[in-house]
């Protein structure tokens, strides 16, 4: 049973790696990347400026993809959703060329289930973005992770739409 689980984990990691490689290979042609999901940007306008009141944060780079700082996830999953991969890749490219720039990856979960377990799920998501950035040339010293679990929702509400908006990793550029 344990063995099967590890196998499953290995497969899912391999899938993530595979999709990163795919993305990285088309990274030189950003115009071919799929457009970002329109629904999310309207639902989560408040969350699109993460940590607006955060005195440790800075505005960071701008650009169509770089100004997007939120990576979304499916239910009970730490795999970067296809529609968020281009955002991660854009930040990876930027950070690889700006080695002094540090970012904090803030992982979040939706409100269902146990709070401390959700801290674990948020951390998994943060680590998944961290690994993707590392694989795309970002240095370890540039990245820290924190998981807020379900404690800092982007939006209020107990429906699927709110859950989807809250399952996320926020990329916070630090001063």
């Amino acid at each position: 049973m344990i063995k099967g689980v590890h196998m499953k984990k290995f497969v899912s990691i391999a899938l993530v790696l595979g999709s990163i490689v795919l993305l990285a290979s088309c990274g030189t042609k950003p115009e071919e990347q799929p457009p970002p999901p329109p629904a999310q940007t309207t639902d989560t306008s408040a969350a699109d400026t993460p940590s607006a009141t955060d005195e440790t944060a800075t505005q960071g780079p701008s650009g169509e993809l770089l100004s997007k700082r939120i990576v979304y996830f499916d239910y009970d999953s730490a795999e970067i959703r296809a529609d968020s991969q281009s955002v991660v890749a854009a930040h990876a490219r930027y950070l690889a060329t700006a080695p002094a720039q540090k970012v904090r990856l803030e992982g979040h979960a939706d409100e269902r289930g146990s709070r401390e377990y959700n801290i674990g799920l948020g951390e998994r998501r943060g680590q998944s973005v961290r690994r993707a950035l590392l694989l795309q040339g970002v240095a370890e010293v540039q990245l820290t992770t924190v998981s807020y679990g379900e404690e800092r929702p982007a939006v209020a509400g107990s429906d699927e739409q709110a859950y989807a908006a809250n399952r996320r990793v926020e990329i916070v550029y630090l001063k």
Partner: protein, 441 residues
Amino acid sequence: MNPRMKKLRTCLILATIGFANSVLVTPAFAQLRLTITSGVTDPIPIAIVPFAKAVPVDGGLDVAQVVERDLQSSGRFKAMARTDMVNTPTSATEVDAAAWKQLRVDYVVVGRLVPLPDGQIRVEADLVNALTGLNPFTAKSTVPAANLRKGAHRVADMLYEKIIGVRGAFDTRIAYVSVDGKPPTQQYELYVADSDGANRKVVMRSKLPIMSPAWSPDGEWLAYVSFERRVSTVFVQQLRTAKKIAVSARAGINGAPVYSPDGKKLALTLSGSNGNLDVYLLDLSTQQLSRLTEDQGIDTEAVFAPDGSALYFTSDRSGSPQVYRLTLGSSERPRRITFSGSYNARPRVSPDGKQLALLTLVDGSYRIAVQDLSNGTVTVLSKGRQEESPSFAPNGAMLIFAGRDRGQGVLQTVSVDGQIQARLDADAGEVREPVWGPFQP
């Protein structure tokens, strides 16, 4: 809602649940309001007669009413309305048992406050069995005048034990987290209050999340997780002095602290920078850290068995969160102990060590359940859609947990047999993560 409206609403709610008298007496304390939502089918009829007062040292506190509310909150009693009382005796010798029996009460409680020369007050309550009129019992508690509510709760504990046969847990405290404001800008507060919600005091306030409060076994300290430094830190804080110590601020997650039964250690969850959550043991005096679990899954939410010999914790090493048991000081692998359903988390052990309270996913809803540790039988106790954070009362008779009511977080209690349920509503904001403190000296 403006403050006047809020006050009006509070008054209306209090009036509707029969606590109208208290509004005039204790409005400043009534931040949490208790409503029994389900009691035993056959509650014991009892008359709690207003006590002889000790003006002015009693500060105007209606002690009999505190006792009455305590007993009612257990769901096992039905108190007679004061307006139905024919007379108001204040000692057992003045009670005409037969007359009260005619009024269909099984027990009569009469009492008085006795001011002592040293400034303290002795609360005395006589319990008369109206059916027999024999062998009245007297409960006594001496407390500083400023702490009269404690005396009332202690007397209620003694009366409860005399009638029900189980030690009462009214003279106890709860800790909980309150959240105000709308995402993404919220304000978090950690509170301690009496078990009836009175005497609420702020322990700590932050613009960033506070979570996972846990009592020290002596009730003097709280351990909790705060994100006030933008990353998680485990603090312990002495309630009397507000002295606060950061005991774990390591890279990655610092979470889920609980005290060992001897109060000398914390079990907690750490992830390190690689993000693998495991359970560790931290010696509070030496700062020595030892690792207890080693697995690639999420291992968290540890809690000690009352005798300190084992830990229960949540792990998703099997693919879904389940509860495991780890014998301390043994090299055995942790043993999985939950098997019904795809989600069992946040275990808490009953004071006698025989039952586990946990969060379980049943019919698409997250509910509170208890599992008998000897035979594995699981009983789902709550009825909501999204409940969490069960915590046993120190007498093991009740559980407090967090539920939701019309989108707001509320605190709820339930008896371990599921029969008696009550709700503690907050005036404003959302309340969550209740933890019941130990018996108090």
